[in-house]
Symmetry: C2
Subunit: 342 residues, 2 copies
């Protein structure tokens, strides 16, 4: 991988660890990136192509390469268009897993823009009333600048929980709440190891969209949000939908996973002076944080705040890494003939 590309990819992974989103950090280096580069599913030195370029929009073909560098590029293009014109939107096709969605959305903040980032992903989520995974966990991230408070940062899978959370519960040997995963008959799965095994065997079932099973608690809304992401990422860029991505795996072949992304930037001052906007962002946040709390709850958070607090702490105290992850990083370094210092 070109050094510049490697630098961006590692920055995004470390940023996830800094924010405490350990499921998306360096722990994924082997399975999501190194192995896939080695077996040809990710193209190490891709030909990235601008397919369409209009004043406000662009479509980029990632050439089957790592998701992070092309996404960093695409978001930069969206921000540049916003600088020139007020808003900018870029769809990316033929890419791979891009790490945390929020990373790209927050790139807009340095330019006094609101940022948006979405990606589809391998089929893991069932449509409402369905019992086979057809959609990805398809995250949406939106970031907006504030003044003295942390920026607003929504970074959410459109499923009840992201895939990584099941692994966390498995390690802790904790039961899954109902509303996260169903089996091939549509019944709730509460055993985390079983949920992971079903996924491996492609035994049907899958994650539930935000809102859970059926329509009682509005699972159809999470399903609708996942489709929104699918339309903006795959359909606008001309990429396969989630249920067609990673199709290679089941056939035992090594083809690129064909993930697609969508990025957007809105320049705040095209609507309102930045200073006013930021002052009201601060007010809004304080109003929410000072609101009366449910007994036993120590505070009300604003989206992104937990991660920003964690980042401040870890930037000073360091990032605690799971021992297994450290051993794995060390082994990878040996396999690849690289230095590894702790």
């Amino acid at each position: 991988v070109e050094e510049g590309d490697a630098h961006i990819a590692s920055t995004v992974l470390v940023e996830a660890d800094l924010r405490g989103i350990v499921s998306h950090g360096v722990a994924r280096l082997r399975h999501f990136y190194v192995n896939r580069i080695r077996d040809g599913r990710i193209v190490a030195r891709p030909q990235v192509q601008m397919l369409t370029d209009t004043p406000a929009t662009a479509v980029i073909d990632a050439g089957g390469g790592l998701g992070h560098p092309v996404s960093h590029h695409a978001m930069s293009v969206a921000i540049q268009k916003a600088q020139d014109l007020g808003v900018g939107f870029v769809a990316v096709r033929n890419s791979n897993h891009y790490g945390i969605a929020g990373y790209y959305a927050t790139m807009a903040l340095d330019h006094e823009c609101i940022g948006m980032s979405m990606t589809n992903s391998s089929p893991l989520v069932v449509p409402t009333f369905g019992r086979v995974a057809k959609l990805g966990t398809n995250p949406i991230a939106v970031a907006a600048p504030a003044g003295n408070e942390y920026p607003y940062l929504l970074d959410m899978a459109t499923s009840t929980v992201p895939a990584g959370k099941i692994e966390v519960y498995e390690r802790r040997e904790e039961a899954l709440p109902e509303g996260w995963v169903i089996d091939g008959d549509g019944e709730p799965v509460t055993n985390a190891a079983q949920a992971i095994e079903h996924r491996r065997q492609r035994a049907g079932g899958g994650h539930l969209p935000l809102g859970g099973i059926g329509e009682l608690l509005s699972g159809h809304k999470g399903y609708g949000l996942a489709l929104w992401v699918e339309i903006f990422c795959a359909l606008l860029s001309g990429a396969p939908c989630a249920y067609e991505t990673y199709a290679s795996r089941s056939a035992g072949k090594s083809r690129p996973s064909q993930v697609s992304h969508f990025f957007g930037a809105w320049r705040v001052d095209q609507f309102r002076p930045v200073k006013e906007f930021k002052a009201t962002m601060d007010e809004l946040q304080r109003e929410l944080k000072d609101a009366p709390r449910i007994e036993g709850q120590s505070r009300i958070y604003v989206p992104g705040e937990k991660e920003y607090i964690e980042k401040d702490r870890r930037a000073h105290e360091g990032i605690p890494l799971n021992q297994k992850v450290v051993v794995d990083l060390q082994m990878m370094a040996e396999e690849l003939g690289m230095d590894f210092d702790l």
Copy 2:
């Protein structure tokens, strides 16, 4: 109200009834519109002002008038900008309730655009871990064109359920599921009449964001989505946030409610030929509808499909109106010295 404005407002209300969203149809005519015009909370003949107008963005002051005509105008401006430039975004402040969010999003479909519409609303939803309503049910609507299938139309409150659904359960004397409403102590309310009474008395508590109470089923995501809407509607347009809107009511005074909206349009052909896009929209829909279903479920829907089916039916068979609604319409006509024919 000017005839043109009245025509738009009534069209949006009837469209809600056509789509089977009876909670947002003519049943609301008296309490949401006529009464508020009569007591001065809605300005009958407002001065609508374009405050900002850039190639891709605009901000409009609705002058305290009806939400529907200014929203129709704002979405038309967004679509015109998309025609000229590829994309367009318009924020509206100093407005009132605009009916169904989906109406404005679908206006984009006739122009081969993807449409988006959001609005904040009176404070009804608690932030995660909070026990006092600070946010509106803040709906998001997104519409995308298809070929032979119905368009995709997501039109969702970012709370578990919209306010109107509680009234439906009250009329049916059915218990509310846990996860919809909490009381001032943060405890679930399952008695619909009680939930409505709490709201009337501003006794604390309120609707839960999509995902329900706390973080277990990701209620913080619904809360984050509601804030997204608040930021795009109120903060970009320079309007008060939900918790400041309708403040007049508690003071017993009659001031405009200060609701704000946000509209967007993306021209599909700026990314990809429209024909290709629509063909894959059809494929995606068929893939989802043909997916294996949970036992006992007769079909899998695509967002908007239920409402389009209902609209087709009601356009032919007519709209069944609740007898109480008919009597109320008749009384209003008498009060206002208007003809009323059934």
